[in-house]
Symmetry: C2
Subunit: 108 residues, 2 copies
């Protein structure tokens, strides 16, 4: 990459892109759904639920944490991963606005 020109786009578009990237892998969608379904904040159980190696799952968790869509706080000895509902709501709103703004017209 010769230069990162991402900074030239509006902040709201950039943030939408960040969230889109976070959910741009089936494993990460699966992780989010798993976290939402298991009302309890689980830890390495995620590894059992997702058909990928432990390290890979951990890596996907890290990507989600980087996007701030989830938190991973140490709760005693176990790590408690859960969805950051503020950020999750922000994502929903950004997507909603974005998708509303884009009104496709079939022209060809």
């Amino acid at each position: 990459m010769i230069s990162n020109k991402s900074e030239i786009f509006p902040a709201e578009q950039q943030q939408a892109a960040v969230y889109a990237k976070a959910i741009s892998h089936p494993a990460r969608i699966a992780i989010l759904r798993f976290l939402a379904e298991s009302k309890v904040c689980i830890t390495g159980d995620i590894t059992d639920a997702i058909p990928l190696g432990r390290t890979t799952v951990l890596q996907h968790l890290q990507v989600l944490k980087d996007s701030e869509l989830i938190t991973g706080d140490i709760d005693g000895k176990r790590v408690c991963y859960c969805i950051n509902s503020d950020r999750y709501d922000e994502m929903k709103q950004l997507f909603d606005e974005l998708l509303k703004k884009i009104n496709p017209i079939n022209c060809c």
Copy 2:
């Protein structure tokens, strides 16, 4: 990548991930918005509207075409890019379903 294990996830999650990836770059969001705003199917005008090199924009257009969110048909001598409203609606629906399914609970 040692293996592509994506096929082990449900089709609907995979498709959502494909669309998310398509819009996971600010330039591609900008392109979609530009296509939606310019009611007419434009061609290389996109290059002028997006602050990136012509080849890079073409590449982003190709990514969007691969996701089938846009079409790029040759219309006489000019190429007519426009949003594929069927796919766009499918994306909206998939995102909507997905985001509805995931109900975050702050637990930590």
